[in-house]
């Protein structure tokens, strides 16, 4: 993967979209997607999802990097970006530049 692709995506601000229902369960976050499926986010995905509180992608990567200092930075960036796209595809967050997201306090 070219660094440039990561670079241009790192300035995006992911925004949470309204959830129908969610449940905090130990290290997991169980959410009901708008598609009415139940999705279990593991601790990393949950951390990434919870970081979508106005931070730009680059900040989310840095935050996660401090939790996993042994991880290669490029690999971490790629994993975070993929996770964000996965969350977007499930309508949990928006990566658009319009004001579609809302503030969600979970």
């Amino acid at each position: 993967m070219e660094d440039y692709v990561i670079e241009i995506l790192s300035g995006i601000t992911p925004k949470k979209l309204p959830l129908m229902k969610f449940r905090d369960e130990n290290e997991f976050l169980i959410v009901q997607e708008n598609t009415k499926k139940i999705l279990v986010l593991n601790s990393t995905a949950r951390e990434i999802y919870n970081s979508c509180d106005g931070k730009i992608v680059n900040e989310i990567i840095k935050n996660l990097g401090s939790l996993y200092p042994d991880l290669n930075n490029k690999k971490l960036s790629l994993d975070v970006l993929k996770c964000l796209r996965d969350l977007e595809k499930r309508d949990l967050i928006s990566l658009r530049n319009k004001n579609e997201g809302i503030t969600c306090d979970i």
Partner: protein, 361 residues
């Protein structure tokens, strides 16, 4: 008269490119489609011919700011072009014909600057939805804002490599990869339905994995990929860009795996192989037309046949005179029958977008 069954039987299964998804026996699909359509048409559940096309591709200009090695219609070469006023007239005719969708392509359509939006507005204001095809070179936030007011089936940015050195070599301009990648990001970020088009050839066939990953990260809803078509500049450059059948089979198997991996997240679609496509088009009632920058009207972007020119005849008259049944024209059937494998397109005359199109009457 033509014998469709014979046309299908002419194909040897092992000569047809693998297709994903779904993995379909294409010959069976053709037979089933023909049978089904025949039955429906007998029951009057499906039309034998349409009063006007459902869609139209507008090659709004032949001009292009890139010089792609595989360009199917040799964009960038000199060609007499219709004026803006004439395109507006065509847009109005298409509105009167009550078409549903329009493919906006070129050349590079964004080279038309504000005239592009005036043409699109005429169509949009009358409920026509778009497929927009661009190389992304001129796409910036200002253009995206203007383009965002229209409705799209999809918005296509062509990226032919996961790395700048591959894409730039294929597209003939240094820096074009960065522009295309930026354009794709802008499109998805603005909420337009981003589709990445990726033409497989010798220079990029080994990098499909990275290309798919790049498309996903850029927010594409779909990547459409497949080998280049033997048409236009791809014929002239075939020795440089051609791939071996085994390599291609392997690539398609890989795409099948990726299709499953990305299921529900991003569609991975392979372009239809032209031999199958041409036979399929004969079955269904003619439903689309293509208008070239000089006003020539064609049935699609593969066949080297034209049915007239907008400068000489009103589109609806042309449609009624010949268009609606043109795929059953004897010359066209004969031409298609002689293409039994994709490589026949290199030997046949006229060759698409190399030799002069034949006017059918």
């Amino acid at each position: 008269m033509f014998d469709f069954q014979q046309l299908v039987l002419d194909l040897r299964e092992d000569k047809i490119l693998p297709s994903i998804p779904p993995k379909t026996n294409q010959i069976e699909l053709l037979k089933i489609s023909e049978k089904m359509l025949e039955e429906w048409q007998k029951k009057k559940a499906y039309p034998r011919e349409l009063e006007s096309p459902l869609g139209c591709q507008l090659e709004l200009t032949h001009k292009c700011n890139l010089n792609c090695i595989h360009c199917y219609n040799q964009s960038g070469n000199f060609c007499q072009e219709l004026s803006f006023k004439q395109w507006i007239g065509i847009a109005k005719q298409l509105v009167d014909m009550n078409i549903f969708e329009c493919v906006i392509s070129g050349g590079e359509p964004l080279l038309l600057k504000d005239n592009l939006y005036k043409i699109m507005s005429v169509l949009h204001d009358n409920g026509i939805k778009f497929i927009f095809v661009t190389n992304g070179m001129l796409l910036d936030e200002n253009q995206i804002e203007k383009l965002s007011k229209y409705d799209y089936y999809w918005f296509q940015v062509s990226i032919d490599g996961s790395k700048p050195e591959i894409h730039d070599k294929i597209r003939g301009l240094r820096g074009s990869w960065k522009r295309a990648v930026n354009a794709a990001k802008l499109v998805s970020e603005s909420g337009l339905p981003l589709v990445i088009s990726h033409v497989i050839q010798r220079y990029n066939i080994s990098y499909l994995d990275e290309m798919i990953e790049t498309s996903y990260l850029l927010g594409a809803r779909r990547i459409i990929t497949g080998k280049f078509t033997y048409s236009g500049r791809a014929i002239l450059n075939k020795d440089k860009i051609d791939v071996f059948d085994d390599e291609l089979k392997e690539a398609f198997q890989f795409l099948q795996t990726k299709y499953n991996e990305y299921f529900g997240k991003m569609e991975i679609i392979t372009s239809t192989d032209p031999v199958f496509y041409l036979r399929y088009r004969i079955i269904e009632p003619c439903n689309v037309i293509l208008i070239r920058p000089n006003g020539d009207v064609k049935l699609d972007c593969v066949l080297p046949f034209k049915i007239g020119n907008v400068l000489n005849e009103n589109l609806l008259d042309m449609w009624n005179r010949i268009g609606k049944n043109a795929w059953r024209n004897e010359e066209i059937i004969k031409y298609i029958s002689s293409i039994k494998t994709e490589k026949d397109m290199l030997r046949i005359f006229p060759r698409p977008y190399i030799d002069k199109d034949i006017l059918i009457r």
